[in-house]
C-alpha cells in the first residue's frame, strides 16, 4: 500500500511551506493526492482508506503547512465535492474539484425555496430544455455564501406533471451567469451570512447536469447525507468547539458560579465528550467501509449541545447583557464559535434548522433507523402541479 508518510515527506521536500506561496502549496498538495486520500488518483486522492487522511493532516500541521481554510469552503468540501464525485462526468470532476478544494472557487447550495424547506421535494424552480442547454427560472432562499460563491449545486423542477420526487433534476450552476441575482438576508445576529437568490433564464449547459434528468431527488439525497456526516463526523480535540469556549469562560469567572450552573456545565461537558467519542467511532466505521446511521444522531446532538452551552455561557459570563456589534456584515466564512457570547447564542439557533431541522432528523431516525411507520401522507401520488401550495 502507498505510504502516505512518504508522500507527505516528498511534498514537503519539493515545496517547503516556509517559502512556497500558499496557493501553490495547496495546488501541489492536491496534485500529490494528499487533499483527500480516499478520492481517486488524479482528483486529489490516492484511493486509500479515509482514516489515512488523519495521518496526512497531522504530518502537514506539524510541518507548518497552510490549510485550505475549511470554514470558508464548508459547502464545497462537505456537500458539493462528494456529489460531483458520485454523479459528475470525468470532465466536470477534472474542472471543478481542484479549485473547490484549494478554496480558489467557493461553492453554495441552491436548494431551499420560499415554498420548499423541510419539504425540499416541493421545490418549483423551473428548468426547461433549450437545445444543448437548460434555462432556469425561480427563487432560492437562505443560501449561505451565495455572495462569495463562484459555483452552486442546484436542484430544479423539470417535470411538473409527475409526483414531486420524480420530476427533479440536479445541476451545477455558474453564479457569474447574468441571470443570477444575489441579495443579502439579514440574520438575528445582525449579519447577512445567507441570501436570497433570484434566477432568471439562467443558461446551464446540459454537460453541467449531475445524474439523469428526473433523478435529482436521489442526487440531492447524496448531498444531504454527506452534509450531516460533515457536521457530525468532524474531528475535534477534547474541549474543542463550544464546550471549550464555555469551559474557559467558567474558569475565568469564579464570581458568577452557582451550584446549579455547575451541574448543568458538567452534564453538558459529559455529553460533549461523548459526542466527540461518537464522532471518532463514526469516522472509524466510515474508514472500515461501513457508515453507520450515527451521522444524523451527531447533527441532532450537536445542535442541542451548541444551544444549551451558548445559553449557559451568557449566564456565566461577565457581560452577558452586551453584544459586540449589530452592524450588517456579509461574512466570508461560517464560524459557530467566533465573536462573543451573544453572537454564539444567537448563531447556535440556526444549528437546529440548517442542514435539516432537528424535527426532520428525528423523523429520519425514527423511520430509516428504527423502522417505525411513516405518518399517513397526502402528497405521494399527486402530480407536483396539483399539490396545495
Amino acid at each position: 500500500m502507498t505510504d502516505v508518510r512518504e508522500r507527505v515527506a516528498a511534498l514537503l521536500a519539493e515545496h517547503d511551506p516556509a517559502t512556497t506561496d500558499r496557493l501553490d502549496f495547496l495546488r501541489a498538495r492536491f496534485d500529490a493526492g494528499l487533499a483527500w486520500v480516499h478520492f481517486p488518483e488524479g482528483l486529489g486522492g490516492l484511493g486509500l482508506p479515509r482514516a489515512q487522511q488523519e495521518i496526512v493532516e497531522a504530518e502537514l500541521a506539524a510541518a507548518g503547512a497552510p490549510d485550505n481554510d475549511p470554514r470558508r469552503i464548508g459547502i464545497g468540501l462537505g456537500m458539493a465535492a462528494p456529489t460531483i464525485l458520485a454523479f459528475g462526468s470525468e470532465e466536470l470532476k477534472k474542472r471543478l474539484l481542484r479549485p473547490l478544494w484549494t478554496g480558489e472557487e467557493v461553492w453554495c447550495q441552491l436548494f431551499s425555496e420560499p415554498g420548499a424547506g423541510s419539504d425540499l421535494a416541493a421545490l418549483g424552480t423551473r428548468a426547461r430544455r433549450d437545445g444543448d442547454d437548460w434555462l432556469v427560472t425561480g427563487q432560492k432562499v437562505w443560501t449561505s455564501s451565495a455572495h462569495t460563491a463562484r459555483w452552486a449545486i442546484l436542484v430544479t423542477r423539470t417535470d411538473p406533471d409527475v409526483p414531486k420526487h420524480a420530476g427533479m433534476t440536479y445541476f451545477v450552476c455558474d453564479m457569474t451567469d447574468p441571470g443570477v441575482e444575489v441579495r443579502p438576508l439579514r440574520q438575528i445576529t445582525g449579519e447577512a451570512e445567507f441570501n436570497e437568490v433570484f434566477l432568471t433564464d439562467v443558461r446551464i449547459p446540459d454537460a453541467h447536469r449531475l445524474g439523469e434528468v428526473g433523478d435529482g431527488w436521489r442526487v440531492a439525497q447524496t448531498t444531504l447525507m454527506n452534509e450531516r456526516v460533515a457536521i457530525g463526523g468532524r474531528s475535534t480535540p477534547r474541549e474543542g468547539g463550544m464546550i471549550g469556549v464555555v469551559s474557559d469562560t467558567w474558569r475565568a469567572n469564579p464570581d458568577r458560579r452557582t451550584p446549579e450552573a455547575h451541574d448543568r456545565l458538567l452534564k453538558l461537558w459529559v455529553e460533549a465528550e461523548a459526542l466527540r467519542l461518537a464522532g471518532i467511532r463514526l469516522r472509524q466505521q466510515l474508514a472500515n467501509g461501513a457508515p453507520g446511521p450515527e451521522g444524523s444522531a451527531m447533527k441532532l446532538a450537536f445542535a442541542r449541545l451548541a444551544q444549551e452551552l451558548s445559553g449557559l455561557e451568557l449566564e456565566i459570563t461577565e457581560d452577558g447583557l452586551r453584544y459586540d456589534d449589530w452592524t450588517l456584515r456579509r461574512p466570508d466564512m461560517v464560524d459557530f464559535t467566533g465573536r462573543d457570547a451573544g453572537y454564539r447564542y444567537l448563531r447556535a439557533k440556526g444549528n437546529s434548522i440548517e442542514g435539516g431541522t432537528s424535527e426532520i432528523l428525528r423523523n429520519i431516525i425514527a423511520e430509516r433507523v428504527l423502522g417505525l411507520p411513516s405518518e399517513p401522507r397526502v402528497d405521494k401520488d399527486v402530480a407536483w402541479k396539483d399539490l396545495p401550495k
Partner: protein, 348 residues
C-alpha cells in the same frame, strides 16, 4: 493523545454472539421472572456455563487459569448480561477480580484468582453496592451485591484488603430483583493481602464502573428495541401507535442518547484495557452518562407500553429496577460528575 479504538473487533463480536445466544436460551424473560421469585434468585447453573465459556475470567491472565483477554472483552459480556438482565454474580465477581488483579503479587490473591477462573469459588468484594465505606473488619456491610452466592469475600478494612471465608449472609428485600443485595456480617478473621487495600478498591471501582456502563448500554438497547417492536404492532386510532410523531421523536432522541452512551462506554473499556492515562476521565464520563440513559430508556419503555408496561408479567419492570439500581451503584451520576469536575479543572 491518539484516538481510542471504538470499534468492536470480529473476535469481540464472536464472543458477543456466543454469550447472547446462551443468555437467550437460558435466561429468557420467563426464566428470569420465575427465577427471581424463587429461593435462589441467582442462576448458578447459568453462571457455571458462562465460566465454562470463559466469559467470567476474561481479564485474568492465562497463567492464573483465565482467558488472558482484557476489559474490552469483559465489557462485551457485561453488555449482554445487561441486555438479558441475567441473574448471575457478574458485577460482584468483576469487582473482586479487579481488586485481586491489583494485588496479584500476593500468593493468596493469585490462588483466589485461579479458583475464580475455574469456577470453583465465587469471590465477592464486600462493599455496599452504592460505594465503599471503610471500617473495622468485624462489622456488618449492608447491601452487598451477589453476596448470597459468594464462597469467599474480599473485605476492605483498616486500610487493607482481607480475604475472608466465613461470614453470615442475610437476604434483604431488594429493589433490583435480578441483582439482589445481602447484608453480610464478618467476624474478626481472615488473611490480609499484601499491598494497599485502598488502591485495590480504587481499581476495582474503576473497572466495575466501566463494566457497569457497558451493562447500562445493554439495558438501554433492550428497552429501545423492545419498545420500537411493540409500537410497530400496537394499533390505536386505526394506525400503528409507532406512526405517531410524538412517539417517534421520543424514540429518535433515545436512540441518539444511546449512540453517545455506547461511544462513552466503549471508550471507558478501551481506556482500562490500554491502561490509558485518561482512564479516570473516561470512566467518569461513561458512568455518569450511561446511568442516566439506561434509566431514561427503562422509564420510556414502561410508559410507551401503556398498561402492559405496569404489569409484573411483562419484563419491562425487571429492566427498570436494574437500571435504577445501577444508577445508584458505585456512585450516582452526580457523584461521577463531581469527580470529573476536579479531573478536568471545572471547580464548583
Amino acid at each position: 493523545m491518539s484516538d481510542p479504538n471504538l470499534l468492536t473487533s470480529d473476535v469481540e463480536e464472536a464472543l458477543r454472539a456466543g454469550v447472547r445466544d446462551l443468555l437467550a436460551d437460558k435466561a429468557d424473560a420467563d426464566a428470569v421472572l420465575g427465577r427471581v421469585e424463587s429461593s435462589s434468585p441467582l442462576d448458578m447453573d447459568l453462571w457455571r456455563t458462562l465460566v465454562d465459556l470463559g466469559a467470567t475470567s476474561l481479564p485474568i491472565p492465562e497463567s492464573l487459569g483465565g482467558q488472558g483477554a482484557g476489559w474490552r472483552e469483559a465489557a462485551v459480556v457485561a453488555e449482554e448480561v445487561g441486555r438479558a438482565v441475567a441473574p448471575v454474580p457478574f458485577l460482584g465477581s468483576t469487582l473482586a477480580t479487579a481488586a485481586l488483579l491489583h494485588l496479584s503479587d500476593d500468593t493468596d490473591a493469585q490462588e483466589a484468582l485461579k479458583s475464580m477462573a475455574s469456577g470453583e469459588s465465587v469471590v465477592v468484594l464486600a462493599i455496599p453496592l452504592s460505594g465503599p465505606v471503610d471500617g473495622p473488619l468485624a462489622r456488618t456491610v449492608r447491601s452487598v451485591a451477589d453476596a448470597g452466592v459468594a464462597t469467599r469475600f474480599l473485605v476492605p478494612a483498616d486500610g487493607g484488603l482481607h480475604l475472608v471465608e466465613a461470614a453470615s449472609v442475610e437476604p434483604v428485600v431488594s429493589l433490583d430483583l435480578t441483582r439482589p443485595v445481602w447484608d453480610v456480617t464478618f467476624a474478626d478473621s481472615g488473611v490480609r493481602l499484601t499491598g494497599s487495600g485502598e488502591s485495590a478498591v480504587d481499581s476495582a471501582l474503576l473497572a466495575g464502573s466501566a463494566m457497569l456502563a457497558a451493562e447500562q448500554v445493554g439495558i438501554a438497547e433492550w428497552c429501545l428495541t423492545t419498545t420500537v417492536a411493540y409500537l410497530k404492532q400496537r394499533y390505536q386510532f386505526g394506525r400503528p401507535v409507532g406512526s405517531f410523531q410524538a412517539l417517534k421523536h421520543r424514540l429518535a432522541d433515545l436512540w441518539q442518547s444511546i449512540v453517545l452512551a455506547r461511544a462513552a462506554a466503549l471508550n471507558a473499556a478501551d481506556a482500562l484495557a490500554t491502561s490509558s492515562a485518561d482512564t479516570r476521565v473516561a470512566v467518569a464520563v461513561a458512568q455518569s452518562l450511561c446511568s442516566t440513559v439506561a434509566v431514561r430508556a427503562a422509564e420510556e419503555c414502561v410508559q410507551l407500553h401503556g398498561g402492559i408496561g405496569m404489569t409484573w408479567e411483562h419484563p419491562a419492570h425487571l429492566y427498570l429496577k436494574r437500571a435504577k439500581a445501577d444508577e445508584l451503584a458505585l456512585g450516582t451520576p452526580g457523584k461521577h460528575r463531581a469527580t470529573l469536575a476536579s479531573l478536568v479543572n471545572l471547580p464548583g
